[in-house]
Symmetry: C2
Subunit: 94 residues, 2 copies
Amino acid sequence: MNLIFKALADPTRREILRLLGRSEMTAGELAQHFDMTKPSMSHHFSVLKDADLIRSRREGQQIWYSLNTTVLQDVFTWAWDLIADARRKEVQTP
Amino acid sequence: MNLIFKALADPTRREILRLLGRSEMTAGELAQHFDMTKPSMSHHFSVLKDADLIRSRREGQQIWYSLNTTVLQDVFTWAWDLIADARRKEVQTP
DNA sequence: CCTCTATTTAGACGCCTGTCTAATTGTCTC
DNA sequence: GAGACAATTAGACAGGCGTCTAAATAGAGG
């Protein structure tokens, strides 16, 4: 869980996830959307991969990245549980 | 949104949120749950407050902290939208 | 095998962050 | 007002993080 939230803490990486939510993309296509060198982008990819937020597969010279929604659901659930806890407490003492 | 995710990137702060989900607590009570000095805890409180993830009110010498679920819902929604995007794409190309 | 393209790895650098100790602020009680 | 208690602010410091340039790897195609 820590790797996931660490990965989400950077705005560039969150934007990468948003783009990948729309469609699978190659490293190069993704890089075009940002004012940053390719090595920097590659670093962000690796952080997201380590957190298992994205998956990659090579196709010829290019590498295709895609979103792994399973891990995103963990984030979703984490936030939900916290809110649910707080709500439960409110109901007990109205 | 950036302050929120930055705040969530630290495990100590996520644990603080979990505790506050169960019940409102004073700074001192919270600090007891962690192996850390009170100034360090105070720093974490301030990061969470800046992100508006928690609210505080003074009562005598003590300061009570509570969860602000509104902002947590933003996180919830953010994750949801991303997952929804990915799902929509899957359905279009089955 | 050489070269071109796509991408990553290595290493360096400055800034941001989490932690600490010491000092300060705010509040209650005598 | 003095002392005690709760909590924060100030300042210092090590380690982590995001970015860059330069070099390396991987594959495609002559």
